[in-house]
């Protein structure tokens, strides 16, 4: 059973556009991580959010954890070709292992 659903599954946009990726669950998580995976590489952690309603910014990327800690979003402003990759959310519950989302593949064209 997939506990974390991401949408959209694919996103293809032009440079300069804005986009939002969603990560949804019916379960509550104590923390939510976002990873980016570039072709030929393993995922790399971008951010961890731990408090309901928390917002974190990483340059043009804004991450939000839902108030009920069941969902999260990633918003990219003025996307660049360097943002291209697979974005994965991962939820943690106390000492239990991480659960990964289904992934969103983003392609940004120049």
């Amino acid at each position: 059973t997939q506990l974390l659903e991401q949408s959209p599954q694919f996103l293809s946009i032009q440079e300069g556009e804005n986009l939002t990726v969603y990560c949804n669950s019916s379960s509550v998580f104590s923390s939510l991580q976002w990873y980016r995976q570039e072709p030929g590489e393993g995922p790399v952690l971008l951010v961890t959010v731990v408090t309901g309603g928390e917002v974190k910014k990483l340059k043009r990327l804004t991450f939000q954890f839902g108030d009920a800690r069941k969902d999260s979003s990633l918003h990219i402003t003025a996307a660049q070709p360097g943002d291209t990759g697979l974005y994965l959310c991962a939820g943690g519950r106390n000492t239990d292992k991480l659960i990964f989302g289904t992934g969103t593949r983003l392609q940004v064209f120049p």
Partner: protein, 113 residues
């Protein structure tokens, strides 16, 4: 810089072969993980280990086994490879809690013919 190294980038094996995937980390991490990655399914946990000689089943352990004889090395074994085990395999490690930040290797793309 911290590093998780997977021994092979690409592997091609025949059905029925025994396959070893090796992973080494240089960060003195307690936890090590093996995931497989398939399009549209995200990362699925096969096995993990929180200490030397300790192992726990993940979500999809069938057809796989693991070995952790030394802290820095975690091996994934396919006893008799099958075509449905064709996939990208990712090794990861973390310092203490199993839901902490994961450091991943670059992956091994395994094709079973």
């Amino acid at each position: 810089d911290v590093k998780v190294t997977q021994s092979s980038r690409y592997l091609v094996k025949r059905t029925g072969e025994k396959v070893f995937l090796e992973c080494v980390q240089d960060m003195d991490h307690e936890n090590m993980f093996w995931y497989r990655q398939d399009p549209g399914l995200g990362l699925r946990l096969i096995y993990f280990s929180y200490d030397v000689k300790m192992k726990e089943k993940g979500d999809i352990p069938e057809g796989y086994s693991v070995s952790r004889e030394k802290k820095e090395r975690f091996s994934l074994i396919l006893e008799s490879a099958s075509t449905n085990q064709t996939s990208m395999y990712l090794c990861a490690s973390s310092f203490r809690a199993s839901n902490e930040k994961l450091f991943f290797g670059s992956g091994t793309q395994l094709s079973v013919l």
